[in-house]
C-alpha cells in the first residue's frame, strides 16, 4: 500500500527526515515510536503534503502511484487520512458544514453521488454516537473551544466519515481519558480490514493493546533506527530511547 524509500525532507532549510525506509502493506498496522522532536509529525506532514515540508530526496509510492506528485487534497481524496496531533481550530465554520463538504469532495472523486444535508446528518449522527461525540459538538465550529480529548475524538469521527484506506494517527491517544481511549481505539481497530493500512504514532504502548500492530518502528534523529514486533513497544516502555539517541546523533 505504502512504500517509502530513502526519504529526506527539510523544513525552513533544516533537514528533519534523513533517509526513511518504510513499507506498510495493505491490511497491516505499523506503530511508530520515538523521542520528542525525532520527526514523527514531520513524516506525517510530508506524507499528507503540507506546504513548506520539502522533500529533498527519496520517493513515496501509494497504491502504485507517486504520492509526492499529488496535491494535498488529491491525496486525501485518494484515501490518505491524517489524524492530527494538534488539530487546528477553524472558527465560524460549523462541523456539520465542514464535514459535509469534506465527505462530498471525497465522494465526488470516487464517482459516488453527493450526500444531501439530510443524508449527511443521518450518517454523521450515527458515527458521532459511536465515538461519543455529542450532537452539540457537531453544531459547533470545527475544533473551536474543544478540549484536548474532544479534539482527538473529533479526528476519529472524521476518519470514520471519510473512510480512508491509509491513515496516520499522530498521537491520537494523548489527551484522551482512559475510557475515551478505549472507545476511540476500539473504533479504530474495528476499522482495520485487508484493504486498509495504518501508521500509528504514539509514545505509549497502551493504545497498542487495542490496536495490535504488525510492526513497531523506532524513529530517532530522522531515521528508522529499529524495527520489531509488538513486543518492542513493551521493551521501549521499560528502557526508554537512550540507546537510540546516541546512535542517531
Amino acid at each position: 500500500m505504502l512504500e517509502i524509500r530513502n526519504l529526506h525532507a527539510s523544513v525552513d532549510g533544516r533537514e528533519i527526515l534523513k533517509g526513511i525506509d518504510l513499507t506498510v502493506p495493505a491490511g497491516e498496522v505499523h506503530a511508530v515510536m520515538g523521542p520528542n522532536g525525532s520527526g514523527k509529525s514531520t513524516l506525517s506532514y510530508v506524507l499528507a503534503g503540507r506546504d513548506g515540508y520539502q522533500v529533498t530526496a527519496g520517493s513515496v509510492t501509494y497504491k502504485g502511484q507517486d504520492l509526492l506528485a499529488m496535491k494535498t487534497e488529491e491525496r486525501a481524496r485518494q484515501g490518505v487520512f491524517l489524524a492530527f496531533q494538534y488539530p487546528v481550530e477553524i472558527p465560524g465554520v460549523t462541523g456539520v458544514n465542514f464535514l459535509k463538504t469534506a465527505v462530498n469532495a471525497v465522494r465526488r472523486s470516487r464517482g459516488e453521488s453527493e450526500l444531501d444535508a439530510m443524508q449527511f446528518l443521518k450518517l454523521a449522527r450515527k458515527k458521532a454516537k459511536e465515538l461519543g461525540v455529542s450532537e452539540e459538538m457537531l453544531r459547533r465550529a470545527v475544533n473551536t473551544g474543544f478540549s484536548g480529548g474532544e479534539k482527538k475524538r473529533y479526528e476519529a469521527l472524521q476518519m470514520a466519515l471519510l473512510e480512508p484506506s491509509f491513515m496516520i494517527l499522530d498521537e491520537t491517544d494523548s489527551g484522551l481519558d482512559i475510557d475515551a481511549l478505549k472507545v476511540v481505539a476500539e473504533a479504530v481497530d474495528a476499522f482495520r480490514n485487508p484493504q486498509r493500512a495504518m501508521l500509528v504514532i504514539t509514545h505509549y504502548q497502551r493504545i497498542l493493546d487495542y490496536i495490535v500492530p504488525d510492526k513497531v518502528h523506532v524513529l530517532a534523529g530522522g531515521r528508522i533506527v529499529q524495527t520489531g514486533g509488538k513486543d518492542l513497544a513493551l521493551e521501549l516502555e521499560r528502557t526508554g530511547y537512550a540507546q537510540f539517541v546516541g546512535q542517531a546523533a
Partner: protein, 482 residues
C-alpha cells in the same frame, strides 16, 4: 488639490468663451460639467423650477469645494470634465449583439453564481427584445403595490407625479451641502428609485430595482429616496450579485431614508461593480452617501451591505436616531482583493432618548488590498439611556494586504452605554492544510472560512439574496491564496 480646483473652475467658465449651448434635442450632453449641462439635464426631465434651482445651488457650492482627503484611499486625480453627465437610455442596438460577443470570463462568473440563462444576456448588456419573466413578474407586483397605495417608481417619474413628496423629503436627510460627492450628485443626478409606503402598510414583498418597471440604467449619479410613513414597513434590495457592465468609472450615488413613527426600513445592498484587473487597472470608483433618518418615535432603520466590487469604495451608511426609542443597525461585509481599496463604515447619531444602535462589520482583505472600517458613534446630550454595541472584525488572507479599524466615539450623555469590540484574524496555512487534508480544495476551504466569518452579517440579508451572497463571497476571493 487646489491646482485641480482652479482647473475645474476655469474649465467650467470656458463655455461662454466658446459660446457653447447644449442642444436640448441631443441624446447625449457634451463632455464636461457646467451650468448649461445642469439646465440641460433638468430640462430633459421636465423638472419644476425649484428642483433646477436646487441643482444649481449644489453645483455652485461644489465648485468651491475640494475632494475630501481623510479616507485611507489612494487614486489618481479624477478629471470631472472628462465625463458625460447625461446620456439618454441606451438604445438596444448598442452593446453586444449576442452572448457570443460577451467576455467569456463574465459568462463564467454568471455560471458560477447560478444566474438564470435569460437574465445573463440582460446583465451583460446584450440587445435582446424578448420579454423577460422579470418584466411580467414586475407587472403583477405593480398592481399589488398600487392596491396598497405603495409608490415604487423612478425618481424622474416621482418628480412629475408626486412633486409634493419629493420636494418635502429630497435633501432632508442628505442636504445638498453634505459632502463633496453628495453635492455633486445633487447637481447632476439623473435618476434612481423612489418609494413611499403609506401609514400602517406593510410592504408584502422585497422591493428591488430589479423589478422596477422602468429599470433602465440609472447611471453613475443615482438618487434614491425611501419614505416609510407611520407604522409602515418596507424592505428594499439594491444591486445584484452578478457583475454588471458599466463604462463609467465614477459613481456617486445618494440614498436617503426617512422612517416616521414606528416605521421600519430594511435596506440591503450587494455591490459588485467591476473591481479592476489583477494589476489594479481600471475599476469603478464608488463614492456613495447613504443615510437614514429615524425621524419618528420607535422607528427603525437597518442597513445590510455586502461590498465586493469596485476599485474604490467610500461609503458610510448612517442612521440619525432622532425619535425616542428609535433603532439603527448596520451590518456590513466588505471584501477587498488584489488592489481594491475600501474605506467603509457607519455613523450612528443618537439624538433621542433610549435610542439604540448596533454595528457588525466584517472586513476581509486579500492580495494587496486595503480595507478600513471607519465608524462614528455620537451621543448627544439629550440622548438619555442611549446604547451602542459595535463588533468589528477583520480577516486577512496572505500578508501583503491591510486591515484598519478607526472607531470614533463621542458621548455627551453620561447615561449612555457604548461597547466596542474588535478582532483581527488571519486564515492560517495550518487551517488551509487541515481542510485540504480532508479533501477540500483551497478555494472551498477559503470559502467556508470566509462565509463562516461573515455569517452574523449574511443572516440579515433576505433569504434569496443570502444564498447568492455566499457564492459571491467565494468567487470574490478566488485566486487569493496559494
Amino acid at each position: 488639490m487646489s491646482d485641480g480646483m482652479e482647473q475645474v473652475r476655469s474649465l467650467a467658465d470656458q463655455k461662454y468663451k466658446y459660446g457653447f449651448v447644449t442642444d436640448i434635442e441631443a441624446d447625449v450632453a457634451p463632455k464636461g460639467l457646467n451650468e448649461d449641462i445642469i439646465r440641460f439635464i433638468s430640462a430633459k426631465k421636465g423638472e419644476p423650477e425649484w428642483l433646477l434651482e436646487w441643482r444649481l445651488k449644489a453645483y455652485k457650492l461644489w465648485l468651491s469645494e475640494a475632494e475630501p482627503s481623510w479616507a485611507k484611499l489612494r487614486h489618481p486625480a479624477i478629471d470631472y470634465q472628462d465625463a458625460y453627465y447625461y446620456s439618454a437610455p441606451k438604445k438596444k442596438t448598442d452593446g453586444p449583439k449576442s452572448l457570443d460577443e460577451v467576455d467569456p470570463k463574465l459568462l463564467e462568473t454568471y455560471e458560477k453564481l447560478g444566474v438564470p440563462l435569460h437574465e445573463r444576456a440582460a446583465l451583460a448588456g446584450v440587445a435582446v427584445d424578448a420579454v423577460f419573466d422579470s418584466v411580467s413578474v414586475a407587472t403583477t407586483y405593480k398592481g399589488k403595490l398600487e392596491e396598497l397605495g405603495i409608490i415604487f417608481t423612478s425618481m424622474s417619474d416621482a418628480v412629475k407625479k408626486h412633486p409634493e413628496l419629493v420636494r418635502k423629503y429630497l435633501g432632508s436627510v442628505v442636504p445638498y451641502s453634505d459632502n463633496y460627492f453628495a453635492t455633486l450628485n445633487s447637481a447632476v443626478f439623473t435618476d434612481g428609485s423612489f418609494v413611499y409606503v403609506p401609514p400602517g402598510v406593510r410592504c408584502p414583498m422585497e422591493l428591488s430595482t430589479y423589478f422596477r418597471m422602468n429599470a433602465e440604467k440609472t447611471g453613475q449619479f443615482e438618487r434614491t429616496l425611501i419614505i416609510a410613513d407611520k407604522g409602515s414597513y418596507v424592505s428594499y434590495l439594491e444591486g445584484c450579485t452578478a457583475p454588471m457592465r458599466d463604462e463609467n468609472q465614477l459613481h456617486a450615488a445618494v440614498v436617503e431614508l426617512v422612517a416616521l413613527d414606528e416605521a421600519e426600513i430594511k435596506y440591503s445592498t450587494v455591490q459588485n461593480w467591476y473591481p479592476g484587473d489583477e494589476q489594479g487597472r481600471g475599476g469603478i470608483y464608488n463614492f456613495v452617501t447613504k443615510r437614514g433618518a429615524c425621524r419618528g418615535r420607535a422607528s427603525r432603520i437597518s442597513w445590510t451591505q455586502v461590498e465586493t466590487g469596485s476599485a474604490i469604495t467610500w461609503k458610510y451608511p448612517s442612521c440619525i436616531l432622532q425619535g425616542d426609542d428609535s433603532q439603527g443597525e448596520f451590518y456590513s461585509v466588505a471584501i477587498t482583493n488584489n488592489f481594491q481599496q475600501a474605506d467603509t463604515g457607519t455613523k450612528m447619531i443618537h439624538i433621542g432618548r433610549n435610542t439604540r444602535s448596533r454595528i457588525i462589520s466584517k472586513g476581509i482583505s486579500a492580495g494587496h488590498a486595503d480595507n478600513t472600517y471607519r465608524g462614528l458613534v455620537r451621543v448627544l446630550p439629550k440622548a438619555e439611556g442611549a446604547r451602542n454595541h459595535t463588533q468589528c472584525d477583520s480577516l486577512l488572507i496572505g500578508d501583503r494586504c491591510g486591515a484598519h479599524t478607526t472607531p470614533y466615539i463621542e458621548s455627551r450623555n453620561s447615561s449612555a452605554r457604548i461597547e466596542h469590540e474588535a478582532t483581527t484574524s488571519k486564515i492560517s496555512e495550518e487551517q488551509l492544510f487541515y481542510a485540504r487534508q480532508r479533501g477540500l480544495s483551497e478555494e472551498e476551504a477559503v470559502s467556508l472560512i470566509v462565509n463562516g466569518f461573515c455569517r452574523d452579517v449574511l443572516q440579515h440579508l433576505p433569504m434569496e439574496f443570502a444564498v447568492e451572497a455566499q457564492k459571491l463571497v467565494a468567487i470574490s476571493l478566488e485566486g487569493s491564496v496559494g
